[in-house]
Subunit: 385 residues, 2 copies
Amino acid sequence: MNNFDFYNPVKILFGEGKTEAIAQEIPANAKVMITFGGGSIKQNGVYEQVTKVLKGFKVVEFGGIEPNPKFETLMKAVELARNEKVDFLLAVGGGSVIDGTKFIAAAIPFNGDTWKIIKGGKEGVIEKAVPFGVVLTLPATGSEMNSGAVISRISTGEKFAFGSPLVYPKFSVLDPTFTYSLPRHQVANGIVDAFIHVTEQYLTFPANAPIQDRWAEGILQTLIEIGPKAIENPTDYETRAAFMWACTMALNGIISTGVPTDWATHMIGHELTAFFGLDHAVTLAIVLPSLLLETSDEKKLKLLQYGERVWGILNGTEDERVSMAISKTHDFFHSLGIKTHLSDYGVTEDQIKPIVDRFAQRGWKLGENKSITAERIETILKGSL
Amino acid sequence: MNNFDFYNPVKILFGEGKTEAIAQEIPANAKVMITFGGGSIKQNGVYEQVTKVLKGFKVVEFGGIEPNPKFETLMKAVELARNEKVDFLLAVGGGSVIDGTKFIAAAIPFNGDTWKIIKGGKEGVIEKAVPFGVVLTLPATGSEMNSGAVISRISTGEKFAFGSPLVYPKFSVLDPTFTYSLPRHQVANGIVDAFIHVTEQYLTFPANAPIQDRWAEGILQTLIEIGPKAIENPTDYETRAAFMWACTMALNGIISTGVPTDWATHMIGHELTAFFGLDHAVTLAIVLPSLLLETSDEKKLKLLQYGERVWGILNGTEDERVSMAISKTHDFFHSLGIKTHLSDYGVTEDQIKPIVDRFAQRGWKLGENKSITAERIETILKGSL
């Protein structure tokens, strides 16, 4: 096991009706800015519940945070919050709203060019942030219990991740009933997103971390068991509760303690979103099976363990078992209604070149072994066609 | 899944050499009181490492915190800390030192009779505590990552648990090399303690909590795999690291989120310590198998799941599988060198009566179903003879 630090102070308020508890979690006399996305919370009753609980607080609202939240949009929220002297934020939504709110929280008290917070480097280090809470409506990204965010900028076509212990949510409400009105494909995306968050932290090489392995496998097994049910039965509370908790546990830092991580599927997937506008989770489902095939020698020991413990694959040669584990993974995504080939989305072989070129220019080497070069990314993407 | 709150802000610093990092975690200019036990840290090099790192801080020491830490001893530490105007505590030791330090931290700023903090009730509610950190030397209780403590009082023969979010450690150093010098039986006790912390939160009734189940099973499987190795090979870093992490994860609140818990084995075990002076972990190993047998109808579904997933028991009638799961548990404790019968410790049938009488007087009903009466405790203890 590698040395590590682990720190996660987010207070989770889990279960139906827990929104009521937030009034005690927000400082008395706070001026609260509610941040949200496209307005679905005004249709499904969540907005009503939240505003009811916030009676007694001064409240302003900022709606319209888009998927893959944009710096330009978020800076409007920062301006509003500064003008209104907001001192607490409440993100009501999914990963994009939460990520966006993390940036807003960091940017409000920041002196100077706020893009530096995202771009990184010494000048972008934040020393304070406005405290904020979360009411989660879309289980997927895990942002409700971590301190990271991914922000895009339209004007420059850039997309970066930033993180700081100062942008852990103070609390996150996880009410499974808030997921009942989600469209089918968003639930499927959430399951795949959480699944691949886990594989990025687990399908690497053995690191003498038996608890972390078992816990990663436990999340994968759970997602496999409940995934189809979560999609078919939107109001099955228990299934949605397990789905919600699985997504949060998948990326709160606990399963990556002391182990190597990969994240190549995410890095390649981000480019597929940038080039073709594909949903984040869809890009992951496209990349992962082909990436596992390409890296199956490096990942062999963990793929065999994964096949055995998660899929019950006990028979066959090592190569056959590895191959079967990858097929099972691919078939699972399919069973959720997610198509896993680039050609399913009209992407053709000649469209791969510009992506590969971008990686080649950057000179990045991805994966837990820093072995995934542009050349291998080409192989992976061709394998995903 | 039941509704729940989860909050655990302890910063974990894990791995060889991590003691060095504590200088950055303690406020500059703090006056630090090091608390410790019988002095083993002065033999094994831990004390030396800690004091080296604390150069630059004003330091006082309080040694001699005993197993099952005593109110009377701890109040001497409180007096010293008040006189010396200590503003940070550093517990260096195992569960007893950490539990004791939690009380010291709460008692220093408390006005009035400090026993009330432990005894509970409105007058004992604490509103502040001196911040403290931990350097763990004995993996077992999980106290390094939770906010609970058990304190005894000699003068009255009382023993109570107390807890408050104010007594979470600010940080805990988990350096597996600090366990190398532990006596064999303390390692065995630690494994059993962690194992039974998990069963108390897992072997109840199904609660639609698949992640919590899998994570509990993951800790049990890990303890079974590494337990004998951890005892036989004291300086096997990787095994000791897994052992240490397993103990911490077993009682930091994460696996009990949203599920029923039992804790009857602990309640009965505490009396065996009180009456016969047996080690805490030993009492748990004595009580658990007999308790599982007595409650096997209520616990049947989880016992079958435990048998299948943790021990691989797939064949036989339900009753046979339950019985085999209990035998395997019992045999595991034996394999660690822990004797699991009261008679192994010279306790005879007539000595059981006073314990049962005490439970009868209290009128307590224990367990996840509040179904374990004094009468059933008698059956359980007779079954442990």
